[in-house]
Symmetry: C3
């Protein structure tokens, strides 16, 4: 599906560089972020931004640079402006002056919608492999 991989690159760069308000804008207004590491999903851009902001502040304080790698992207179009996308995602962390390491390997399942020509995540479900 055209544009999905570039979308992920831009979306994750926002998160990894701490631009959490812009990150939240990559979800629909009613977007959901669910994970098998948390009891309930984050729902709506404000909550998504708040959760991401808290994590970003901790990483900044610890001097750790995160990088989210999405890959192995399989997109299944559902009509013209919707797609179900399954991918693998790695979180790579590097402490300042230290060694990079994989923090988590996950499966990422996204329901994507295109609004005004722009892809957005309506529902994301992240499954950490260590919790399967």
């Amino acid at each position: 599906v055209a544009g999905i991989e570039q979308f992920y690159a831009e979306q994750m760069f926002l998160l990894d560089s701490g631009q959490v308000e812009e990150w939240a804008q990559t979800f629909t207004v009613d977007g959901e972020f669910a994970s098998n590491a948390t009891p309930a999903p984050a729902v709506g851009r404000e909550v998504i931004a708040a959760v991401a902001g808290k994590a970003a502040a901790q990483y900044a304080e610890q001097g750790v640079q995160r990088r989210h790698w999405l890959g192995m992207v399989a997109a299944e179009p559902r009509g013209a402006d919707e797609a179900f996308v399954r991918s693998y995602a790695l979180v790579i962390e590097t402490p300042r002056g230290g060694r990079a390491a994989i923090r988590a390997s996950t499966l990422c399942e996204d329901l994507m919608v295109r609004q005004d020509g722009r892809w957005l995540v309506r529902r994301r479900k992240v499954s950490r492999d260590d919790l399967l």
Copy 2:
């Protein structure tokens, strides 16, 4: 070459989720899987499925989730329905409750053919970097 990366994403998901019969169907009927870690190639879908099934059973028993990442894909078309594809492949493993780690870094060389509009692997050669 259109569709190759999505093919890899789907193919590896089958392997990583233990769907070894479906995995074997991503090779041609006379498909070959060779590796510098094994003395002889696996030839034909039945053998490919059997080899994968044995490994998948071991991983399931040990509670380890594997993820095969292919990337750095360079595809060289050879006519309309054939391509030589070189890629890098990582095997990432996560034990239940443990940390993800790279199990192997490899070079993957595929001779691909398109049959009935669907890409299949005719011959795969995987070279583990630790054995070079």
Copy 3:
């Protein structure tokens, strides 16, 4: 931007397989390679080849296979034959008989130009996450 990802796959394979003269040809004649790990950029193909050749010789001597993974590629066209491309890059190293590990996680920023239908790097800036 069409062809950019395949360009990276081919470019990095040249470096990882020690073909440093061919690697230098993937930069423009006046190409620059800057890194936050070195005080000054390498400028021009001869210098770029020499720097890469020295590193390649060390890795060969140590029996270490490097793999450069670029991913999360976001390309921003600037006219028909120029693009700014931001990506993440990992260096994965495997010692002969040993375990693969991430050597470095980086941000890669490329100014690319197309000459005679072929993408080349005019200016590359690599930022290692451990030095941020």
